[in-house]
């Protein structure tokens, strides 16, 4: 409720049009190295999606509406005809559940924004735009700038990443079939590479990694014993259950 009052109050910040434009531009430039990193994965995702039965229109539809690389790679991996809706939705939620923590961490810095601005802006929140937006917020805060969270910077950054993702997944869907079987070139190894680098980013010591090992072991066993995509929910559920059990609730 307190936040609503603050949001409703007139903002004292001096946001002129040219200032907004230069902040937006700063975000666009900041996005360039990440954009370069996005392109190969977008192409691989688009190519694999088409191999799994997506049409060239359905690929940008999924990447444009969902905009979550990890969950899209998982969905394509699980995709069948017809797609197993419940399994895919459950996995999408699990893969993207980190957004809940990310959004909660960002929330205190969004108090100067009305909800009609904050809610659409959060649609564009991905790992990279979140991390870079938060780092920028902390930088601006330490030089006592208001507001610490620069919405035009965040939008310049995240809109470029969004456009790159949708455009290049679509390009992968169109060009993929012409490239032939990308597996023979080794491009499929980009999958585990991306996931391993993402895992390294989440690494906070061996203790946090123990549930991952449980998940991996159960997933491998299930994969060998049961046909289909069950290895994924089985491994993930086992890992999460292990993490839950391993945490003592404060007495």
């Amino acid at each position: 409720m307190q936040t609503c009052e603050i949001a409703a109050a007139p903002t004292q910040s001096v946001t002129t049009k040219s200032h907004t434009a230069s902040e937006f531009q700063r975000g666009v430039f900041a996005s360039i190295p990440v954009m370069v990193g996005f392109i190969p994965f977008a192409l691989v995702l688009g190519t694999n999606a088409v191999q799994k039965g997506f049409t060239t229109q359905e690929v940008p539809l999924m990447t444009g509406l969902n905009f979550g690389g990890g969950s899209e790679f998982a969905a394509v991996e699980l995709w069948g005809s017809p797609p197993a809706l419940l399994v895919i939705v459950a996995i999408t939620f699990l893969v993207n559940s980190r957004h809940l923590i990310m959004g909660a961490a960002l929330a205190p810095h969004l108090r100067h924004l009305p909800r009609w601005k904050a809610l659409p802006a959060l649609f564009l929140m991905c790992d990279e735009s979140w991390a870079m937006g938060l780092a920028d917020t902390q930088r601006r805060k330490s030089s006592s700038m208001f507001p610490a969270f620069s919405l035009p910077y965040y939008l310049g950054l995240s809109l470029c990443l969004y456009a790159t993702w949708v455009l290049f997944t679509a390009a992968g869907a169109v060009l993929g079939p012409r490239l032939g079987d990308i597996r023979s070139y080794g491009f499929d190894m980009a999958f585990p590479a991306v996931f391993l680098v993402l895992l390294k980013g989440m690494w906070k010591g061996l203790r946090t990694a123990l549930p991952w090992m449980v998940s991996l072991a159960v997933a491998i066993t299930t994969y060998r014993l049961i046909p289909g995509a069950w290895y994924l929910p089985a491994g993930a559920a086992a890992g999460v259950a292990f993490a839950c059990r391993n945490t003592r609730s404060p007495s």
Binding site: P40, F41, V89, A193
Partner: protein, 102 residues
């Protein structure tokens, strides 16, 4: 486009958007329990590693060596060089295994 595909994509998009706004709407003023925190922290990693489990279960030695090299690269390098090394290693090893009749 068929309706099952559209429905699945729509459901994915809805669930993903809920995770994006959920933290902002519901968690901003709330203290999380230790177990909830632990589950929220562990879930993404558990899912990511389970997705690539079939790669670890591969019986193909070229794939397994490439995966080992990728794992090593991932611990030391950033995203782009890791991916380039992974793709190149897998491509070269598979080609070599093919030439060697393996």
């Amino acid at each position: 486009m068929n309706s099952a595909t559209l429905l699945t994509i729509g459901a994915m998009a809805a669930v993903t958007y809920l995770t994006r706004v959920g933290g902002y709407l519901f968690l901003r003023n709330r203290e999380l329990g230790a177990r909830t925190k632990a589950v929220l922290e562990a879930a993404p990693g558990c899912v990511l590693i389970a997705v690539i489990a079939p790669d670890f279960a591969s019986g193909n030695s070229a794939n397994l060596i490439a995966l080992g090299v990728t794992l090593f690269a991932a611990t030391r390098l950033s995203l782009l060089p890791t991916v380039l090394i992974a793709v190149a290693t897998a491509g070269i090893l598979r080609h070599a295994a093919h030439l060697g009749g393996g």
